[in-house]
Amino acid sequence: MIIRYFAWIRERLNRDQQELALPESVQTVADALDHLRATDEDFAAILPPETVFRVALDDELVELDTPLGNAKELSIFPPMTGG
């Protein structure tokens, strides 16, 4: 799965995307975030569970309990400030 980062999250992680092989046990968005926190110190420090951020699977905003399904991309970003 491709994980993409935007705005201050991208800047603080110092990367805009990464490819990640997720174990079978990772079923939902929340599982994927927990997996990232467990395996990546920077991610754990910058995106602890209490951080306000949003996630999208293949261009659709989703909730933390949404199953990853066959999604190819997980995007992680702050609340939008466009317009």
Binding site: R4, F6, A56
Partner: protein
């Protein structure tokens, strides 16, 4: 009934877009346009604005809001142009144009898209000020503005 969404880095000419949009709509009695501009105020001066976006998601989301506005307010046409990248003070960031037979639906169509755009389109503002640059926080009022359409 046409929905057009353009995401672009280049500057655009707000007036030229209005004229282009209007030209081929002989049945439209009403065109409402919203132009959002990079602003600098004395109490919060900025030099420039950098707008980061999620290209594929932004395109899809804005097309969806525009289509929803078209259906909901019976628009004849709607066009959204949204820039990304670096912009200078006074330059346009976004323009929404809605054409209808009647003025209220034109106003509502443009207003609806702008409210959703502010909160749900994947764009992030970074302001370049005199003391460095910083990411803009999401505003509570934008979330509440959206709620008026679900009443």
């Amino acid at each position: 009934m046409t929905v057009t969404v353009n995401l672009q880095q280049e500057m655009f000419d707000a007036g030229a877009l209005v004229n282009q949009f209007t030209r081929d709509l002989p049945e439209a009695g009403a065109v409402a346009t919203f132009t959002g501009l990079v602003r600098s105020t004395p109490d919060k001066p900025i030099r420039a604005l950098i707008l980061e976006h999620h290209p594929t998601m932004a395109q899809k989301q804005i097309e969806r809001f525009a289509q929803e506005a078209t259906d909901r307010f019976d628009l004849l046409a709607i066009e959204v142009v949204h820039r990304f990248g670096e912009m200078q003070v006074g330059e346009p960031i976004v323009q929404v144009m809605a054409a209808s037979h009647h003025r209220q639906s034109a106003f509502d169509g443009a207003n609806y898209v702008m409210d959703w755009l502010k909160t749900d389109a994947p764009f992030w503002k970074k302001e370049v000020g005199p003391d460095g640059s910083y990411w803009v926080d999401a505003r509570e009022t934008d979330e509440t503005a959206k709620e008026k359409w679900t009443k």
